[in-house]
């Protein structure tokens, strides 16, 4: 279920550049990369105790990180989005949400990002030397794979 955007605004009040909007996706709080740890900490205090999903999207100009938080007590979900530039660094939030441990490694690896403050900042899925696969500038190797089917 979707919370009222005003509640989320109240929870993360004081963060620079924070915007809360209601979109087809759900209630989305957009914060800057520097604020993301703070925003998530604030939301955890507000009752969003579980990080259910974390992923990135290559928009063509930057990589947009999406955190999906859920409060089981309130039965609400909120999305937090933060932009990060190519080759940038994400601050790990495993202190607040241990469930981010592996998804953070995966996202960093597949988008060519760096991890800060992560207890085990290794690659998760691929071996060393594999290109950041989910970036739009990395093409799938063979023609057969790309063929329009």
């Amino acid at each position: 279920m979707r919370p009222a955007p005003a509640d989320i605004e109240r929870a993360i009040v004081g963060l620079i550049d924070a915007r809360v909007t209601e979109e087809p996706l759900g209630v989305v709080a957009r914060v800057s990369l520097a604020d993301v740890v703070e925003a998530l900490e604030a939301l955890k205090v507000a009752g969003y105790e579980s990080l259910v999903d974390f992923d990135g999207t290559d928009t063509g100009e930057l990589i947009e990180l999406t955190y999906r938080l859920r409060s089981y007590a309130l039965d609400l979900e909120v999305y937090v989005k933060a932009p990060v530039s190519y080759g940038g660094t994400i601050a790990s939030i495993w202190h607040e949400y241990p469930s981010a441990l592996m998804p953070e490694r995966e996202t960093a690896e597949l988008f060519g990002l760096h991890l800060a403050g992560h207890p085990n900042p290794k690659r998760l899925l691929t071996t060393d030397g594999v290109a950041p696969l989910l970036r739009k500038d990395v093409l799938i190797r063979t023609v057969e794979e790309v063929r329009d089917r």
Binding site: P24, S99, A116, P119, L133, I140
Partner: protein, 401 residues
Amino acid sequence: MSDQCEETLGVGLLCEGQHDPGTPPAGLRRAPSGVDGLSTEHLIINMGPQHPSTHGVLRMIIEVDGEEVIASEVSVGYLHRGIEKLAEHRRYDAVGTLMDRGDYVSGIMGELAFALAAEQLMEVDVPRKAHWLRSLTSELNRLASHLVWYGTFGLDTGAMGQFLYAMREREALCDILEAITGQRMMFNYVRPGGVVADLPVGVEEKIRAFLATFPTYLGEYDQLLGGNEIFQARVKGIGVIDRDMALAFGLTGANLRAAGVDFDVRKARPYAAYPELDFEVPLGTVGDAWDRYTVRMGEMAQSARMIGQLIDGMPEGDHIAKVSKIIRPAAGEVYASVESSRGETGVHLVSDGTEHPYRMHYRGPSLYAVQALEELLPGHLLGDVVMLIGSTDVMLGEIDR
């Protein structure tokens, strides 16, 4: 580099970054060897990816003191196929085949998650019958998947008897699913807009024949494994994932409900025909391996109950809405999740209005279960390791994607 890096378990280096790493989670913490000046060494053993009971290609690096696990690290990625990248190069109706290969034991649920996400963007009116067929195949598939879990969980504890009995029932389910979808595992049945085919003639009788015997068999199976005192001594009180830990590690599905959290996507965020069905959500109390066992066994009974309702109340009508051959949904970003056999399977779909998804993220619930294992294993005995992997029911296909 090596000055700032402290060696963690196995192959990892724990490096001091800009951000203070703090205390690492229990699984990655190395305990000092030696007791009272007596020099002892811990054994670091590599379990998998070829170990017989790591449910596919899970690899664990375990540090043991005798038989007791001191630290553990989970290493995944041996089954990485790049499903998310491949989906960016497929048309919307072809992504289903990829989703099947995520959680390959319950493929329908993966397809359904993607179809639900795509439908949100397409704004298509899915016929009622399609909803019912989706629920029917989902529940059949959930039963098949849980039976695989039941059989292999017994194998993990060393019991052989129940495995092929579970396979016998699963065989019947696979036959039914084959009759409906044309495939036994990789269905590609649920498409954006509906399902591929209507129920064929004669399958209803097959399902009824299955339902006539299944509840009795389920009771027998529960007696065979859960009624065994050795099994109970093995699983009761072991691998406790309490509510706080379950939420912190993002667990969903039976692993979460075993900790007493009443959250089932089918109830909390109803989709397909679930709002119209009468079913209960089994809950555990303490969240140990026994609770996870009873919750899954209860889910099987509920699935069988739902299949009966779905067969009885199957509506008439079309099984798929009118969708164009090449689907071009509106640009936008949506998230859809379903209750799969292992928890909440989510699809985060970004569309740019072309015939290919711009970005498809597939949330596999097992990824979250498997990282909870890192935290869970220390303090348990080596014999419990495989049992705990079995009790969390991880599926490597959806971890590595």
